[in-house]
Amino acid sequence: MNAPVELPAINVEEKLFQNRYRVDAGRPHIRVIDPAVCGRCDPKPCVVCCPAGCWRIEEDGAIDLVVDGCLECGTCRIVCEPKNVDWNYPRGGFGILFKFG
């Protein structure tokens, strides 16, 4: 009667598709400082917490970061315990452009 509710797997990219961005091609505003630190990190909270799914684990266990869909919330910087995230605002006018906010 009260079985725990399983939350569905969600393709966040479908959500991001509705958003407006001006991508600063070739100039990502977030960078991993030392990939080796990410490789050793367990449980990689950035992957779970990022609301835009920017952080993924590749097959070999390495971290893959693609910032094009970033919502600029700051979560990955704060949840990273080894402080391995170099987080900046995008250049003025670039990045997410909220239509409603």
Partner: protein, 434 residues
């Protein structure tokens, strides 16, 4: 830019706009820098606008601000994960009598409007410009800002930091520490569009009227957090937020949590058939009074989310932001009129003004709430579930006598929480919220 300003305001959200508007109105030379394409394109809120804070800055705002609906009904829902809801409703036709107290707004539109008022008041507003650091003299006094533009150093007698929850500018200048995961809630939100008539029919409201639903309980899957559903003119804002420290531990993605809320049978029929036009995320500084940084220094003050001015208990933030922006501006206006410098000692007045206002009084009142909730997560989980079960037991007429049903309810209560635990919770709850 060789020109020197009286004040530079970093950021064009509610706090920065309130400060820049008041300063420009008083005749000070103001430069406001915003990294978004236009003011509002980087900002996210539910969003509820509390009229009193804006009234003190722009008294006639109701005549021209883009407002969605005035709130006539507030619902507080206690939800389980995907089956039941209990709660309470407060509806008052008195809330329909102008001047209205609260409105729903859409921040991108509202912030653009507020920024127009700032420009009309005489401030120079430059968008698409990210402030990268603060300029300081050899004594550590803040003397201006650095921007990413070439030759981008700009000088001023004072800098007001209204750069939002992440406040990279304040952090990098060593004026405030990094926000902790225990003090930050991550909220995600969708904008769902429906015809105006459908919104009004589904929520039982008339033209211009709005409903606010605040949601707590197992819908956050044991994490400290809340959800919300707000009515705009022809859209609904639905969202859910949890403390980052909990989210890191529970391994549930924010968009899964939001999907759980959208699929809950109490919510699903309200949003059925709506078109999703935007998905957003934002951090909320919820550390409260104990997490506040130093608020002023030689040549600088910090306002709004960048200072952590959020009353998490009452879901208030933008009103504290606007009030703090106004008080920072008033501090500078008074000092300038008296011909006194913007030194740390003189800017201490800002702290005094905050202490006397609802901003600090409310933050102090709930100073121990964040610690209490972190230490007692079951308050937002176990009790709503028990309440839902008790309601189900009593509302299911199945031939069992009522005393037996009452016995079942108390048995579950005792199983989940000992009598001493219950009394302790009640005492600590009272201590934290009194």
């Amino acid at each position: 830019m060789a020109e020197k300003f009286d004040v530079i305001v970093v950021g064009a959200g509610p706090a920065g706009n309130a400060a820049a508007y008041a300063l420009a109105k008083a005749g000070l030379s103001v430069l406001q820098l915003e990294r978004g394409e236009t003011p509002g394109t980087k900002n996210v809120q539910g969003a509820i606008l509390y009229a009193h804070a804006l009234e003190k800055i722009v008294p006639d705002f109701r005549e021209h601000a883009p407002l969605e609906r005035h709130i006539v009904e507030q619902r507080m829902w206690l939800m389980d994960e995907g089956r039941a809801v209990t709660g309470m409703t407060y509806r008052d036709e008195g809330f329909s009598t102008p001047p209205h107290n609260r409105y729903t707004i859409i921040r991108a539109r509202f912030d653009r409007w507020f920024s127009e008022q700032v420009k009309e008041a005489g401030a120079m507003v430059i968008c698409e410009t990210t402030v990268t650091g603060l300029l300081k003299d050899k004594n550590g006094r803040v003397t201006g800002v650095q921007t990413e533009r070439s030759g981008g150093d700009i000088h001023a007698d004072a800098v007001i930091l209204a750069d939002g929850v992440n406040s990279l500018v304040g952090q990098r200048a060593g004026l405030r520490p990094e926000i902790k995961a225990e003090h930050a809630a991550l909220a995600v939100k969708e904008m769902l569009f429906l015809p105006k008539e459908t919104v009004e029919a589904r929520f039982g409201i008339g033209h211009g009227q709005g409903v606010v639903i605040e949601i707590a309980g197992r819908i956050t899957h044991g994490m400290l957090g809340t959800g919300f559903l707000y009515t705009n003119k022809d859209s609904l804002a639905i969202g859910i937020g949890c403390m980052l420290s909990d989210m890191r531990r529970e391994k549930l993605t924010p968009y899964q949590l939001l999907e759980g809320l959208k699929r809950h049978p109490a919510v699903k029929p309200l949003i059925e058939g709506a078109e999703m036009k935007e998905y957003s995320a934002h951090l909320i500084p919820e550390g409260g009074y104990k997490a506040l940084p130093q608020l002023f220094g030689d040549g600088w003050m910090i306002v709004g989310d960048s200072a952590g001015f959020v009353n998490a208990v009452h879901r208030e933030g933008s009103n504290l932001a606007m009030a703090s922006g106004r008080l920072a501006a008033e501090t500078l206006i008074e000092l300038r009129a008296a011909g006194r410098p913007f030194s740390a000692a003189n800017l201490g007045r800002y702290q005094g003004k905050l202490d006397e206002s609802f901003v600090m009084k409310d933050l102090k009142k709930y100073a121990t709430v964040p610690d209490f909730l972190h230490g007692h997560p079951h308050v937002l989980n176990t009790y709503p579930t028990l309440l839902n079960h008790a309601a189900r037991e009593m509302l299911t007429v199945d031939g069992s006598d009522k005393r037996t049903k009452q016995g079942r309810i108390f048995a579950e209560l005792k199983e989940k929480r000992s009598l001493l635990g219950l009394l302790g919770d009640a005492y600590r709850f009272w201590r934290a919220f009194k």
